[in-house]
């Protein structure tokens, strides 16, 4: 790198950013008290920061250019290598299994509660992965199905005394049905239109829940949702949390199992074909509409079940938990984790949910960091954390499958 050139360019960037951020960073206006505060120090920080960051940025971009085309079988990441290699994966998995089993006893209730949230997001991420990662349908309103599940439990319980174990499959079923209902009108829509309409659906559901008070009890929501009971025995709050944790772990394992099976099936292949080339896919005898609806329905089923668990965990639901941002967060777990990859989605969800919790010290800077991470990840590692992952069907010899 020609040093002189680099310094000039970084200096230029530095000056540009000092100019750009001048009003907002330096001047703080309070129109209530009619005062103006001048924070010149900020400008200095911006200048210095921009100088070095721009050099780093250009350097990283250059590295990226030299990265070249990716191919399947290219150097896989660490997580994948561990997973693929039996000698490592079995002990790691067993260790993980044990860790999960004793988790609630090692850590506080608060930690367990956070883990429960994270696991719910894992479930949601895996469900959305079917729609976005496998079938390539950009759904920005996924939270709607989550809300359906949560509210169905709340309402069924309020009006008919339905308990958790009955509500769980029902929530999934209602989720799936609403997936079909919402999926049907959007079958003809192309990529970005699909995204906006699904976003619209998500908002419609939330707004209806907020305003149709006779039905959904409006913004204050519904409270006193019962937690699951153990064969009729009532448990203490702490015990309930642990119980819910184990139930969720089992559910997540079940989800992983089902999604794994779906991926490696005739249906899974049809979804991937749909994502790759809709026209060629139809020419292969695949019914486009049915395949899309199937993806929506299955994805929504998982969101529905997640919703029931969420309701049981927080014991109350209100529309504010189901905003666009939720849909966006879930989408981010899928994209950042590694689209189409189960391992990736799990890693993505855990990272995205747990990290901010554990970095609470950075409090105010959480969101801005999150935003930056999104941009940086997309620029430098668009495949996500667990990149490049589709385990393609490897044909060994005749007579032997997988």
């Amino acid at each position: 790198m020609r040093a002189g050139n680099e310094i000039k360019r970084s200096a230029a960037a530095s000056i540009w950013f000092m100019f750009l951020t001048f009003p907002i960073m330096v001047i703080k206006v309070n129109t209530v008290t009619q005062t103006v505060e001048w924070r010149w120090a900020n400008m200095l920080w911006v200048g210095i920061g921009a100088f070095f960051l721009s050099m780093l940025w250009r350097y990283l971009l250059m590295q990226r250019e030299m990265g070249g085309k990716r191919e399947i079988g290219d150097k896989p990441g660490i997580i994948q290598t561990i997973a693929a290699n039996r000698r490592f994966s079995i002990p790691v998995l067993t260790g993980l299994g044990v860790f999960i089993l004793v988790f609630p006893h090692l850590f506080s209730m608060y930690q367990t509660s956070i883990m429960i949230s994270a696991l719910i997001y894992v479930m949601l991420g895996l469900g959305l992965n079917i729609v976005v990662g496998l079938a390539g349908l950009l759904d920005l309103g996924y939270v709607a199905f989550f809300a359906v599940g949560a509210y169905s439990f709340a309402l069924l319980n309020l009006n008919f005394g339905v308990t958790f174990w009955v509500a769980l499959p029902l929530g999934g079923l209602l989720g799936g049905v609403s997936g079909i209902i919402l999926g049907y009108p959007v079958l003809r829509l192309r990529g970005d239109y699909l995204a906006i309409v699904t976003l619209g659906f998500g908002e419609i559901i939330r707004l209806v829940l907020e305003n149709w008070s006779e039905f959904s009890h409006g913004p204050s929501g519904i409270a006193n949702i019962p937690k699951p009971t153990l064969f009729g025995i009532e448990l203490s709050l702490d015990q309930e949390t642990v119980y819910l944790f184990y139930i969720l772990v089992l559910l997540v394992i079940f989800t992983i199992f089902v999604i794994n099976r779906l991926q490696d099936s005739r249906i899974g292949r049809a979804w991937i074909a749909l994502k790759d080339d809709e026209i060629a896919c139809q020419a292969m005898g695949i019914d486009k509409a049915k395949t899309k609806l199937r993806a929506f329905a299955l994805g929504a089923t998982w969101a529905g079940m997640g919703g029931v668990i969420f309701a049981a965990k927080t014991t109350f639901v209100n529309p504010a938990s189901f905003t666009i941002w939720e849909s966006i967060i879930i989408l981010c777990t899928v994209v950042l984790g590694g689209m189409g990859s189960i391992l990736g989605v799990i890693s993505g969800s855990l990272l995205l949910i747990l990290l901010p919790e554990y970095l609470r010290d950075f409090g105010q800077f959480r969101m801005i960091t999150f935003g930056s991470v999104l941009v940086l990840m997309m620029v430098f590692r668009p495949g996500g954390m667990v990149e490049n992952v589709r385990r393609t069907y490897t044909f060994k010899r005749k007579m032997e499958t997988r």
């Binding site: 399947i72 099936s265 074909a273 790759d276 060629a280 292969m284 069907y393 044909f395």
Partner: protein, 261 residues
């Protein structure tokens, strides 16, 4: 010989533009037929009409693979494929995230039936079906000579091989009629010879009839039993290679009016 595809009075309008004008084309069982004509004559549009991508403005498209005739105008593309008409594309449309084998496996979709429950529980029936799909796909790859690339990404293959892969994929759907859209485009003479052999073998061994759109005249003349010539959406000639070679209308359509020296 009996007709397996009978298209009569086919018309296709796009707004004010008449792309296909009262076209009659029939294909007989066991035939290798060619559809030729200058660029823009409506050949690929014809394929798109038959395979359900466009709904024809008028006319009848009848198929009769096993005796009884069926009208398939306006049927959705996936249903047309299920009825036994498979096609390849002018611009290669392989599935880019799939391997060579997986691309052919997708072709087996219309002849299999495992659903969501089958996928989740993997009962004996589903497992047998998956084995069947794998073996059948591999056999098709062997037929076209690409079996050693089975686990390669399809888009990494050389161009000529990709075109043959598309053919194998279409064959997997178990068609009675294969529609090939410019299968030799971009191929060198050696690849074209391989293609020539392949197409004949498909007709003879797999008992599939073939209709191809092609610009490579050598290939067309060598392969075809019957040639249909179209220009501006209308048929201007039909016949054996000999007849077409000497047909004035055809020569004029391709080369324009003769200039008197």
């Amino acid at each position: 010989m009996k007709k397996i595809l009978d298209v009569s009075n086919l018309t296709m309008d796009f707004g004010g533009l008449r792309a296909i004008d009262n076209l009659d084309i029939s294909i007989h069982e066991g035939e290798i037929a060619a559809l030729i004509g200058p660029n823009g004559a409506g050949k690929t549009t014809f394929f798109n009409c038959i395979t359900g991508i466009y709904k024809p403005t008028g006319g009848d498209i009848l198929i009769s693979p096993r005796g009884r005739s069926q009208r398939i105008n306006g049927l959705k593309p996936n249903l047309v494929t299920k009825k036994g008409l498979a096609r390849t594309f002018q611009n290669i449309r392989l599935f880019s995230s799939m391997t060579v084998l997986e691309n052919v496996m997708i072709g087996c979709h219309p002849v299999t039936k495992a659903g969501v429950l089958g996928a989740i529980f993997r009962g004996a029936g589903t497992r047998a079906e998956e084995r069947f799909i794998a073996e059948r796909s591999y056999a098709l790859l062997e037929k076209i000579g690409l079996e050693s690339f089975a686990n390669e990404l399809a888009v990494n293959l050389p161009y000529g091989a990709q075109r043959r892969l598309e053919i194998a994929r279409a064959m997997a759907t178990d068609p009675f009629l294969l529609l090939l859209d410019e299968p030799a485009a971009g191929m060198n003479p050696q690849e074209t010879r391989t293609l020539d052999d392949l197409i004949i073998r498909i007709r003879d061994e797999d008992k599939i009839s073939i209709l191809l759109i092609e610009h490579d005249m050598k290939l067309v003349m060598s392969l075809s039993d019957n040639i249909h010539v179209v220009d501006y959406g209308k048929k201007i000639a039909e016949g054996t290679p000999e007849e077409i070679r000497n047909n004035d209308l055809v020569i004029k359509a391709y080369l324009g009016e003769e200039i008197d020296a």
